[in-house]
């Protein structure tokens, strides 16, 4: 690849940033190892296909993969299949070809009831049943990705919550759909009361066809320069422990794993609990 440019994003880049956020999370992207996709032919109908994706440690080739014969029709609230051992996170993918809002609602509700069962026993697989829905169709499920308007307001409005760098390629290297933006990094500034400002890398993605040309390294270089220019003493980010390629990429460049080294754990509190706290006496 002859030339590419890493530059700060502008408001006009928002639709490309949203496009890349969706590509990064799509099943075909498989950020890191261990994406396995299983189709449930006994579910859905002629207009609706149901798939489940599992992010897990690499599965030995001998592990059974459920095929049509292994998936008898089941009521939507249970999933008695042999998941690969070690599955810790599951995406449920609905390919909605032309579902009505009512059907959509029915399947969104279903997501709350899906239970994973580990092969040979009925306990919940992995260490948690985080189930999310993804749809690759032109009708994205509402709660999944930010709306373009939110991304614009939150990044380029009066109070920016994030900043972005984008990787742009010249016309001869545009994507088949005619896009010039092929990678991005989303970051913001955080604060450590012991040392001061930090740069936090929230998201970092280069389209798979554009990897291996140094775009990722160049983005990281730009980010480090931004950090130093803003007098940040370090750059923090999260990596999933099963994501070996990313872990290797960062460790090769001198990053340290604070969770392993110092014992830090990330906790979250969802909105329903915030409301509970705020309204309780």
């Amino acid at each position: 690849m002859a030339k590419f440019v890493i530059r700060p994003a502008t408001a006009a880049d928002c639709s490309d940033i949203l496009r890349l956020i969706k590509v990064a999370e799509s099943p075909s992207s498989s950020r890191g190892v261990g994406w396995r996709w299983f189709r449930f032919p006994g579910w859905g109908d002629s207009r609706l296909e149901v798939w489940a994706g599992v992010r897990a440690q690499p599965v030995p080739l001998s592990a059974p993969i459920p095929g049509p014969a292994a998936t008898p029709p089941r009521p939507p609230h249970s999933l008695p299949l042999s998941w690969p051992a070690g599955a810790s996170f599951c995406f449920l993918l609905f390919s909605l070809l032309c579902a009505s809002p009512q059907e959509l609602a029915k399947y969104e509700y279903m997501e709350e009831q899906v239970i994973l069962t580990e092969k040979g026993n009925s306990t919940v697989a992995g260490r948690g049943t985080s189930v999310r829905c993804l749809s690759p169709s032109s009708r994205p499920l509402p709660s999944l990705f930010p709306l373009l308007a939110d991304l614009l307001e939150d990044g380029f409005g009066e109070h920016p919550f994030y900043h972005c760098l984008v990787a742009e390629v010249p016309k001869e290297h545009w994507t088949p759909e005619g896009h010039s933006i092929v990678g991005f990094a989303m970051y913001y500034f955080t604060y450590d009361p012991w040392i001061g400002k930090l740069l936090y890398l929230e998201d970092f993605f280069v389209m798979s066809d554009y990897r291996g040309f140094g775009i990722g390294s160049e983005i990281l270089k730009n980010l480090s320069r931004v950090a130093m220019k803003c007098r940040c003493s370090s750059m923090h980010f999260l990596v999933a422990e099963w994501n070996e390629p990313s872990i290797n990429f960062y460790k090769r460049r001198g990053a340290s794993d604070l969770s392993s080294e110092e014992g830090w754990r990330l906790f979250k509190i969802d909105k329903q609990y915030l409301l509970k706290m705020a309204t309780e006496e």
Binding site: I21, S88, F89, R127, G128, L144, P146, D150, D154, F161, Y162, T190, Y191, P193, W194, I195, G196, K197, Y200, E202, D203, L220, K221, S224, R225, A227, M228, S233, S234, M235, H236, F237, L238, V239, A240, E241, W242, Y250, R253, G254, A255, S256, D257, L258, S259, S260, W264, R265, L266, F267, K268, I269, D270, Q272, Y273, L274, K276, M277, A278, E280
Partner: protein, 170 residues
């Protein structure tokens, strides 16, 4: 009887804040890592573009007592962004002096931060806990928190000092 008030920190609180930040570092057995100065805290939190926000817990003396109000705890938070969840609030530090624990002051601070989160349109509240701090983990879980490191395998990574300079090509 003394009462507790949770209020927004003012520039004049920076001395108390630094005292408590040092106490928290001591509690985490990492006190040699506090490099920040009162001036930096003031500039970074109370300048034109604040990098953090702070709430302090103040004990208000009962009428008739000679001592004025005193700061016995704090919470430092800021706003972050998630590509999935959008606006999020992040509680960076929370600390209550040992002699004032067990009275619900920590919970009051967290509740106040939750109110700020909702007020500013945040859909999630995040924080980090050290794995040996069982008391803190229990408190957060009782309030509805979920351990994402355990549930989803997320690890905190860092490029710092020399590693960051090398990345920058300097």
């Amino acid at each position: 009887m003394a009462s507790v008030r949770i209020r927004e920190a003012k520039e004049g609180d920076c001395g108390d804040m630094l005292r408590l930040i040092r106490e928290l570092a001591e509690f985490e057995n990492l006190s040699d890592q506090v490099k920040i100065s009162e001036e930096a805290l003031r500039a970074d939190g109370f300048g034109e573009n604040p990098f953090y926000h702070c709430l302090v817990a103040e004990i208000l003396p009962a009428s008739g007592e000679l001592l004025g109000p005193c700061v016995v705890g704090y919470g430092i938070y800021y706003f972050i962004y998630s590509t999935w969840k959008g606006r999020t609030i992040y509680l960076e530090d929370i600390y209550v002096m040992p002699e004032y624990r067990g009275q619900g002051i920590g919970s009051k601070i967290i509740k106040k931060v939750a109110e700020v989160a909702l007020d500013k349109g945040c859909s999630q509240f995040r924080l980090a806990v050290l794995d040996w701090n069982q008391r803190a983990m229990d408190l957060y879980k009782a309030l509805g928190a979920c351990d994402l490191t355990e549930a989803e395998g997320w690890h905190f990574f860092r490029f710092e000092g020399e590693a960051m300079r090398k990345l920058a090509g300097k």
